[in-house]
Symmetry: C2
Subunit: 293 residues, 2 copies
Amino acid sequence: MIRRLAVIGVGLIGGSLARALREAGEVREVVGCGRSRENLEKAMEHGVIDSCTHDISEAVKGADTVFLAIPLGAMKDAFAAMQGHLAPGTVITDGGSCKGSVVADARAVFGEMPAKLVPGHPIAGTERNGVEASFAALYRNRRVILTPMEETDPQAVARVRRMWEACGAEVSEMSVEHHDEVLAATSHLPHMLAFGLVDMLARMKENDEIFRYAAGGFRDFTRIASSNPVMWRDICVANGPALSRMLAAFADEMNGLAQTIAEGDEEHLLEVFSRAKVARDGFVDGLDDDSTT
Amino acid sequence: MIRRLAVIGVGLIGGSLARALREAGEVREVVGCGRSRENLEKAMEHGVIDSCTHDISEAVKGADTVFLAIPLGAMKDAFAAMQGHLAPGTVITDGGSCKGSVVADARAVFGEMPAKLVPGHPIAGTERNGVEASFAALYRNRRVILTPMEETDPQAVARVRRMWEACGAEVSEMSVEHHDEVLAATSHLPHMLAFGLVDMLARMKENDEIFRYAAGGFRDFTRIASSNPVMWRDICVANGPALSRMLAAFADEMNGLAQTIAEGDEEHLLEVFSRAKVARDGFVDGLDDDSTT
């Protein structure tokens, strides 16, 4: 049971954690912290948080658990703002999509990796933002990755694990480096392709018409291009080396495929598409595919 | 009112047309033609077709309307098989995703573009195949593009237009070349990216693990990689020049983005992502977005 949870950034991710813990009866009090008065007021109205402040040092006072659900570019300043205001036992965790930069920011601010800081990442979300997009079931049957360091207190890890399990999530642990590679492949790269495709088409002369003839497949494919641009700028900066490497490798693949198409190598095309279909169908079988099409 | 409709290829596309016309009371009799006995029997059971044959020359006999819903690579043989068996007034149309190759195949077989052949393309579908995936509402509020030629009989165009409008579709006309450019951008290119991404990840050593940590965004993004590999091989061959050109241009874009990320050019990243988000949100506002997330 969390006595007092400070949620820094009460949007989709932070708001959904608060809602899920409340629903599970696993939190007594939630303090919300953010920059937008309007969003905090909505969070109060919807009963997601009990009180709110714009001041991080205020928000973390007396909290036994702090959850950072803010863009990666804001982590360092947030660590600096809470430094000296945390109780000795306070456990800190975050929801950032890249863990290397969070660890680096923490080290830069605190001078070392704090034993009570457990870097984490719930693999969940939609392309929508703000507390009104949040819902208690967001983390149900989703995976949460924790990337504890050598310095991390195992009891802090256990507490963060329990917190996520209370939300219905399945928690696993891996190294920071491995997390950042896996996420570059499965999340960051697809987002680049979706943003890049929509941007390329939007810059074409006849883009009005082009979008008019796009169908359902295009809508699904580009859904993630509606994600928060600031968040994604920060992820690109934070996971720059792994992501730019993977994106360049993908560009090579696509040049190869363009060549294969230009040459009309039917056998090779069929091989690629068949292998992809098998892999994708297998991946979906391993998930709850809630799609109806 | 269609007296007798021959559907060549009774899958998602062909089956849905038959179902929609039946529901609208716009067809008296439907003859199904295909290679799979099992699929044709299912089509009979579900009442999608009234009779069936494996023989195209048989299927088109006495039909006033013929709809080809087969992979592009099968069009030429299908035209050859129906040659000499069509009644003089029979209107032929198709559902191929590329129109240039259909016109070329027709010319190769018939020696000229038949006046009663109206190349068409319903912009609708799911990644599923077979008659059991078909449904009457597939074309409702979807766009259908017709690409009549100089040689095409305007009355044949009018009949095909009425047929699609009876299914609830919105019909427009454009040139073959323009159609193939627009579809390369909005459909063929995204499919290449989805197939290519899944294939690249599937070939990574740790692919089991990689897919395990993929989330909902990845599922949506890669849905189209579950599409029929043979159909897509044929589309690549049929629309090779436009598609390979566009794919190579996209690879250049992604190399540029990889460079921007490696350099940490935050301003440029934010500009690209913001522009894409605005375009994508605008595109969705122009559609019925039936997504709940």
